[in-house]
């Protein structure tokens, strides 16, 4: 028997959960080392997967398939195509950076890592499942730990935010469940395997009814307007690593679900409904960036910018052609890493200044130059500067979308202008401008009594630097040499685009 490579990827965090569970809570160093080792190992495996995946042959590789519950046609069926490879890599990167960013978590550290790694297990599982039942199972496993993670370790209105997020996402999964069962019976194969479901011919009316059910179900998790309201509250209240994972990976899980299930399986429904989705994504892009402009809390700014960037992903998906969808997948990767960096940096800055309010800080560039440099680069990625990962992704999305919906796309580009405005203004206020102390007074004012400025904080320490550098490495890699990524994605996107009728 071949080594079950994919199973091993999600078993690594699962194994770490079991090991940590057996440790007494006082072994703080051991617990975080176990978490780190498992996530680095998982990252290494996803990197290997990226290189070992045969991008010329394309299609589904590394397949493992065993019957599981034969009465219902459920099999344990995992495999990867080009899109999965990219998203698994993203998950590996973000979880490693996330564990490093939670290095100093002190409050109930054992439970924190158990839940964080359980969530990671679920995300890895979703990105490799090719049986819809298995897919749904991992999906739910990925969503639920979030409730406790935000509720216990969050800040602000954390209990409200945790409950709102969980109920929104679970309502989405209720729709997904109904949709999956509908597909199961409509295909008449008595199987949840995606390759069989893909071959079935669904009645056009059925497709038009079930497409919105499934698309909205997944769209909630991708923060599709008007189902996005859980996301700013949730992201702003979550602890750093959870914001990173949630905005970086879980939202992509929603977009990936939209692409994998309704769009691939129900092409007639997609042709009918996707223009509507394009309109919604305009609202996402423009409203999200306007929202980010209006916010004063750093985390809310990043959260709204996520809503706006996920709109670009949705716009790419709705273009129905290979360029647009491929761009959307690349944007998922790029935005995942970028937003991970953003949340990590916001967490680190908050750890030093003890405030997330933009007005209360300023002139940080001279005090934390390394963090400031990372933040500036991330901001420039966000506004789509060439040479960084945001540029090729957004360019591809807009080229693809322009072919399908010229007017809509032109309206969407205003979102980029607004993004440039709020990002540059944010950078200016935070890092340049007047130096301020933690109490918001300008440095040197009478209010800043004595010396708290010098003693309070230093620049990035080694652990933080490694986390940030890891993320930045991939932003630069995609930005400077996107071809390997584009090829891998293209091999998987082309068949979907062909089914949808666009090229």
């Amino acid at each position: 028997m071949r080594f079950p490579f994919l199973t091993a990827i999600y078993c690594l965090p699962l194994l770490a959960v079991l090991i940590i569970f057996c440790f007494p809570a006082r072994c703080r160093v051991a617990i975080r080392m176990v978490a780190l080792v498992s996530s680095v190992a998982a990252l290494a495996m996803t990197v290997l997967l990226f290189f070992w995946y045969d991008r010329v042959a394309g299609g589904l590789q590394f397949v493992e398939k065993v019957p599981w519950v034969s009465t219902l046609g459920i099999s344990y069926f995992v495999g990867v195509n080009g899109i999965n490879v990219i998203l698994l890599l993203l998950t590996g990167i973000i979880i490693t950076a996330g564990v490093l960013a939670s290095w100093e978590v002190a409050h109930r550290q054992k439970e924190f890592f158990i839940l964080l790694l359980t969530l990671t297990t679920g995300v890895f599982g979703v990105f490799m499942s090719w049986n819809l039942f298995l897919f749904f199972l991992f999906y739910e496993v990925a969503v639920l730990p979030m409730y406790l993670l935000i509720g216990i370790w969050g800040t602000g209105r954390k209990e409200y935010a945790a409950m709102k997020l969980t109920l929104y996402l679970m309502a989405g999964s209720a729709l997904i469940l109904a949709g999956i069962l509908g597909l199961y019976f409509a295909a008449g194969q008595r199987s949840f395997d995606l390759d069989l479901l893909e071959k079935a011919a669904y009645d056009p009316v059925f497709q038009r009814v079930f497409f919105p059910i499934l698309f909205v179900g997944f769209g909630i998790l991708a923060a599709l307007w008007p189902f996005h309201t859980w996301s700013p509250d949730g992201h702003a209240s979550a602890p750093t690593a959870v914001s990173m994972l949630h905005a970086g990976v879980l939202m992509k899980l929603g977009a990936y679900g939209c692409l994998l299930v309704p769009m691939t399986l129900l092409p007639d429904g997609a042709r009918f409904w996707l223009p509507m989705v394009a309109l919604l994504s305009v609202v996402n892009i423009v409203y999200g960036s306007l929202g980010a402009t209006a916010q004063k809390d750093l985390k809310y700014i990043v959260a709204y910018s996520s809503v706006s960037h996920m709109g670009i992903v949705m716009l790419g998906l709705s273009s129905m052609n290979g360029t647009g969808i491929g761009g959307a997948v690349l944007q998922m990767f790029s935005h995942g890493i970028m937003t991970g960096l953003f949340f990590a940096l916001v967490g680190m800055i908050y750890g030093r200044t003890h405030t997330r309010m933009v007005d209360e800080q300023g002139g940080l560039a001279s005090r934390i130059p390394v963090l400031a440099a990372f933040f500036v680069l991330t901001g420039l990625t966000s506004l789509g500067l060439p040479g960084l990962s945001g540029f090729p992704a957004e360019l591809a999305v807009f080229i693809g979308a322009f072919r399908a919906y010229p007017v809509v796309t032109v309206v969407c580009t205003t979102g980029i202008v607004i993004t440039a405005f709020y990002v540059l203004r944010l950078l200016q206020r935070l890092f340049f401008g007047v130096r301020r102390n933690t109490n918001g007074a300008a440095f040197g004012d009478a209010k800043s009594a004595f010396g708290d400025a010098k003693s309070a904080f230093g620049d990035a320490n080694t652990v933080e630097f490694i986390a940030l550098a890891l993320l930045m490495l991939f932003i630069l890699a995609v930005g400077l040499y996107p071809m390997p990524f584009v090829r891998v994605i293209g091999s998987a996107v082309a068949p979907i685009a062909a089914r949808l009728g666009g090229m």
Binding site: V69, T71, L72, M170, A174, A178
Partner: protein
């Protein structure tokens, strides 16, 4: 006539006598009662699982078939678990422990008769045997006003619904001219007469009492709250499961050809039951009342299974009964562990339980999440099985309603989690002392919940084989 098909019932009756004798030997203590009860019931469980011969007795009015086989297994498992959590936590004097164990066995004996009968009169006898024992059990803590109130309420509403049921059965008999289930199916045919239609609806209301279907659910919260907690666990799990098997016998067998008469009522009942149960559960301050409403909503999900085809629906209901039994017993056992250590039933007192007794909180969490249908627990696959039965017949709206209801139920389960994990424990609150039998029950049910959730294949094969034998054809 072979004794094998009767073995479980006979053994239960024998154990009932033995328990009474043990009580006689040591009248003031529970020293002999519980070992006899547990040892005997484990033997009966072995018999119930391994002795399986399909046979029709007494001219076809009593059957040992797949449904009675699975039914007896659920009954015996439920009885053992309820007995085990009772030992150290009953709020009654020691001298009543013998009577308690005997009533528990009498109730389960009646239920065994009920799930095995294929004829109306025998069914009714079994039903009343169990019901009368349950009234006694609910009121057993006779110093406790709430327990007495629970007993009286249960008795009055139970008697009322028995009357309704009996009236319905009489009308069905009048329409069909026979009391045998197969005979009724043949005699009623495909076209309902006014007589049979009214009869069927009255029967549904009568059965609705057992399975806590809205609007026949009103007794549930008061009885569950007032009765000793192990009795509530027993009623909510075993009595309700048996009610569902009773409903399968009546509706999926005897009235199967008149599906269009009762199916709308089942659909409306399913949606009403889960919605009312879930909405009412949200605001409950008492753990037992919350579990009462949650078990009402669980009945709503089970009713969805009846909308499916006889074969697929029945196997889904049977599977879910196992999942529900394990999760609900675990939840009640956690409540018993909490209240017998702290003396409180208020949910707000669960604050900080995760710091006081991490394992108890964890097990309670798993039980609640299984009830909410979260993977990889038994309730997840059970719900998918149930909903798929309704989806197979194209009832998208029903599936969406049921799935959204699961989300609503998650809300109040999460509120319990919030108390246990987010809130700090009151000052000076130490870890809880949980007695060994309760621990064992918690462990077994949790392992079972995971096992059915991760490897549901074997049980699913058994239930689908059973129901395809009871309902041959499509």
């Amino acid at each position: 006539m072979s004794m094998a098909p009767w073995m479980v019932e006979l053994a239960t009756a024998a154990l009932l006598v033995l328990v009474l004798l043990a009580d006689l030997v040591a009248p003031r203590g529970k020293r002999f009662v519980w070992p006899t009860f547990l040892g005997g019931s484990l033997v009966i469980l072995g018999l119930a699982v391994f002795v399986r011969g399909d046979a029709f007795l007494l001219g076809g009015s009593y059957a040992a078939d797949g449904i009675s086989w699975l039914g007896k297994i659920v009954i015996v498992i439920g009885t053992i678990l309820a007995g085990a959590v009772s030992m150290d936590s009953l709020p009654i004097q020691e001298k009543y422990h013998g009577a308690y164990a005997a009533l528990l066995l009498a109730a389960s004996l009646g239920m065994m008769v009920l799930v095995s009968s294929r004829e109306l009169v025998t069914m009714y006898v079994g039903l009343e045997t169990s019901a009368v024992s349950l009234y006694g059990l609910a009121a057993l803590a006779k110093r406790d006003v709430l327990s007495l109130e629970a007993g009286i309420k249960y008795l009055v509403i139970g008697a009322l619904s028995s009357g309704v049921l009996l009236y319905g059965l009489a009308l069905v008999y009048a329409a069909a001219g026979t009391t045998s289930l197969d005979g009724i199916r043949a005699a009623l045919g495909h076209a309902p007469s006014p007589l049979s239609a009214v009869g069927i609806i009255l029967v549904l209301l009568g059965v609705g009492f057992k399975i806590t279907m809205v609007p026949m659910h009103v007794w549930t919260p008061d009885v569950y709250q007032g009765a000793p907690t192990p009795v509530s666990a027993f009623i909510s799990v075993v009595s309700k499961s048996v009610g569902f098997l009773f409903a399968i016998r009546l509706f999926s067998v005897a009235f199967a050809d008149l599906r269009y008469v009762w199916e709308p009522f089942f659909m409306a009942g399913a949606v009403l039951t889960m919605t009312v149960g879930n909405l009412a559960a949200i605001a409950q301050p008492s753990a037992k009342r919350l579990l009462a409403y949650s078990s009402i909503s669980q009945a709503g999900y089970l009713l969805v299974g009846f909308v499916g085809t006889s074969s697929a629906g029945t196997s889904a209901v049977l599977f879910y009964l196992f999942a529900y039994t394990l999760a609900n017993v675990a939840a009640f056992a956690a409540v018993i562990a909490f209240s017998s250590s702290t003396g409180s039933d208020r949910l707000d007192d669960y604050a900080g339980l995760a710091r006081r007794s991490p394992l108890l909180a964890l097990v309670f969490t798993f039980a609640l999440l299984s009830l909410a249908g979260i993977p990889p627990l038994a309730g997840f696959i059970g719900k998918i099985y149930l909903f798929s039965a309704a989806m197979e017949r194209g009832y998208l709206w029903l599936v969406v309603a049921a799935a959204l209801n699961s989300v609503a139920s998650l809300y109040y389960y999460l509120l319990i989690l919030r108390r246990m994990y987010f809130t700090e424990a009151p000052l000076g609150a130490g870890p809880l002392r949980v007695s060994f039998p309760v621990k064992a029950v918690l462990l077994l049910t949790t392992v079972g919940t995971f096992w059915l959730g991760i490897l549901p294949g074997p049980l699913m094969q058994v239930v689908s084989e059973v129901s395809s034998r009871v309902f041959p054809g499509p």
